[in-house]
């Protein structure tokens, strides 16, 4: 009896450091989660009071009234155009890297380094680049060639902001697609080749369909990332306010992300703007969160599928 109690006490003493470490690290984890929860709760609670169909579907009235329809439409147009550019390029890059490039070829390595670095370039630098390259060089070139130098494309617009964002988000697509392509078992490729399919046929008809989940995940993550960015579009096309929705790629546009910045700094009546600001933030956050959540679920599902197939 007694020796058992002693034993228990000794064990407890021996476990004390482990408990201390567990408590300390768990506290740190809890703090991070707490920050997330407070942020989400504050935004959800304040934002939910404002969000209504009317808010989402009407135009702003000053900065203290009305809705955010043009900002939603702008964000959708922006990310759609961005996706059209970024996804094919990203998927092609991933296919080349996993299916074609010799494992340790210099080119493949350089491409990988560039993609990793592209993902780390500060977003404001993309803004500088978009202005210097797309707006004042490509745009000007188009105007000189086709419009007698009249300013049509050499001005910030939807197309330039989308392309700037496409470069920024392409690494996301590449990484997700590559991961999915690698998860496709070798045997499937071998079987396809053994049945007489060419490499291209194998890639297009066998490997890529298997990896479609990964491609989709990449596209969704890219849209989510692109929708939240402000710095790259600030100088390449976003407008403070528009009376009409964008109808052409060289129109300017409003965006949810930039609208948050505008509402937070430009309103003449902060108290009146606050609800609209929260509503806009909640819409933006809801959009990016839903997209991220979809990506997480999709990724888990596709991983599960590959495992089941093994």
């Amino acid at each position: 009896m007694r020796s058992q109690a002693l034993e228990l006490r000794r064990e407890a003493r021996a476990r004390a450091p482990e408990i201390a470490l567990t408590v300390a690290t768990a506290t740190a984890t809890a703090l991070i989660l707490l920050a997330l929860v407070i942020l989400l709760f504050d935004i959800a609670a304040e934002g939910a009071k404002v969000i209504s169909w009317k808010f989402l579907s009407s135009s702003p009235h000053g900065l203290t009234g009305g809705g955010i329809l043009p900002a939603i439409v702008g964000t959708v147009a922006l990310t759609l155009l961005m996706t059209v550019a970024a996804v094919p390029a990203g998927v092609a890059t991933a296919i080349y890297l996993t299916e074609y490039a010799p494992a340790e070829s210099k080119l493949a390595r350089t491409i990988r380094v560039c993609i990793a670095n592209l993902a780390g370039v500060p977003s404001i630098v993309f803004g500088l680049f978009g202005l210097g390259f797309f707006v004042s060089t490509v745009g000007k070139g188009i105007d000189r060639a086709f419009y007698d130098g009249r300013i049509v494309y050499a001005t910030p617009s939807l197309i330039w902001a989308s392309l700037t964002l496409a470069i920024l988000t392409m690494p996301v697509v590449v990484v997700a697609t590559e991961e999915a392509l690698r998860a496709v078992p070798r045997e499937i490729r071998d079987a396809s080749l053994a049945l007489g399919a060419t490499k291209l046929q194998t890639v297009v008809k066998v490997v890529v369909p298997e990896a479609l989940g990964g491609v989709l995940t990449g596209a969704i993550l890219a849209i989510s990332r692109g929708a939240g960015e402000v710095a790259p579009i600030m100088f390449t096309g976003v407008a403070y306010f528009l009376t009409v929705l964008p109808s052409h790629v060289n129109d300017q546009f409003m965006s949810l992300s930039y609208h948050v910045y505008v509402l937070a700094t430009q309103s003449p009546n902060v108290d009146k703007t606050k609800p609209i600001l929260y509503g806009t933030v909640l819409t933006l956050l809801g959009l990016t969160f839903l997209l991220n959540l979809a990506a997480v679920i999709l990724r888990a599902k596709t991983r599960g599928k590959v495992h089941a197939g093994e």
């Binding site: 506290t27 984890t29 991070i32 390029a89 092609a92 670095n117 500060p122 500088l128 933030v281």
Partner: protein, 305 residues
């Protein structure tokens, strides 16, 4: 024939990422080069970018970022100091939290907790930075000033806390991967030799994962110094040179964001802003290359690359 064409086309597209980096370097350099090449001087023949303090009429000296003054004073010291200061504050907050959380999730909690916590923290990384900046400006600003009695409502500490929310997931994710990459055999060997779990973690697992943990800090640093919207909204943007955390500060990124829209293309001010972009690009490029190299090695070990 079709095979060759397809491979050629894919390779051509894959090369766009190289082209993108090259174009970014080329176009930022094109606008910035005159400043660095020494031809970038003001009308009076003074160097465009200043690094030394300007003497004031009262005999004192100050580092001045006054770009629309006559003559303009483009002293980048306040901006560089500001960026470094905010970044360091954010790392001092995010690093202990992120690494501790990584240890907890990788080594101490159960599998179910891990599967819940990891994606949740990664969700934090998905919050747009303008939203974090908004949260810092509207909600945190009042709390921080009340709690710490800071002189300025928008200040270095507030911006650092905001940044920490963005940087923490980066440090957490990379550190956690690094810990997971430590082979099982290390752990079993340590336990078999009679060490308890704490000893195992402190003397075997963490040291083995150290390169990855350091890489997480380097990447976190790169993320923090390049972040724009959080500091633009939360730092107050006063171009002070000071060590105080309670005072407002101005970063390189926020300066570009505030001023680029205004400048006439090709003007001195425009070129100086591109030079700031070049400095930013170069420093994050170096940091990310170093960090990525370590991570690439890690992924190989983990078998995910």
């Amino acid at each position: 024939m079709g095979e060759k064409c397809a491979e050629f086309a894919l390779r051509a597209v894959a090369v766009t990422s190289i082209a993108a980096i090259v174009l970014i370097v080329a176009f930022i350099a094109r606008e910035a080069l005159p400043v660095f090449a020494g031809t970038g001087v003001t009308e009076g023949g003074e160097p465009l970018i200043l690094l030394t303090p300007t003497p004031l009429p009262d005999g004192s000296e100050q580092f001045l970022w006054q770009p629309v003054s006559q003559p303009p004073k483009f002293n980048i010291v306040p901006l560089v100091v500001g960026s470094l200061k905010v970044t360091l504050v954010s790392l001092l907050i995010a690093a202990p939290l992120g690494i501790a959380a990584a240890i907890y999730v990788s080594e101490l909690c159960g599998k179910r907790q891990r599967e819940l916590i990891k994606p949740t923290i990664e969700l934090l990384a998905g919050i747009p930075s303008v939203v974090v900046g908004f949260f810092a400006l509207i909600v945190l600003a009042t709390w921080v000033q009340r709690a710490f009695g800071t002189e300025h409502r928008l200040n270095t500490l507030l911006a650092g806390i905001g940044l920490a929310m963005a940087v923490c997931p980066v440090i957490f994710t990379v550190s956690e991967d690094a810990l997971q990459a430590v082979p099982r055999t290390y752990r079993t060997a340590a336990l078999a030799l009679g060490s308890d779990r704490v000893q195992m973690i402190a003397r075997v697992v963490v040291p083995a994962a150290l390169p990855g943990i350091l890489a997480s800090l380097v990447l976190g640093f790169g993320r923090a110094i390049g972040e724009t919207m959080i500091v633009l909204l939360a730092s107050g943007n006063a171009s002070l040179v000071s060590g105080s955390l309670g005072l407002s500060t101005r970063t390189i990124t926020a300066t570009i964001a505030q001023e680029l829209g205004e400048v006439v293309v090709g003007s001195a001010h425009y070129r100086v802003l591109f030079s700031l972009g070049a400095i930013l690009f170069a420093s994050t490029f170096v940091l990310n290359s170093a960090g990525e190299r370590v991570i690439h090695g890690l992924r190989k070990k983990l078998g995910t690359a």
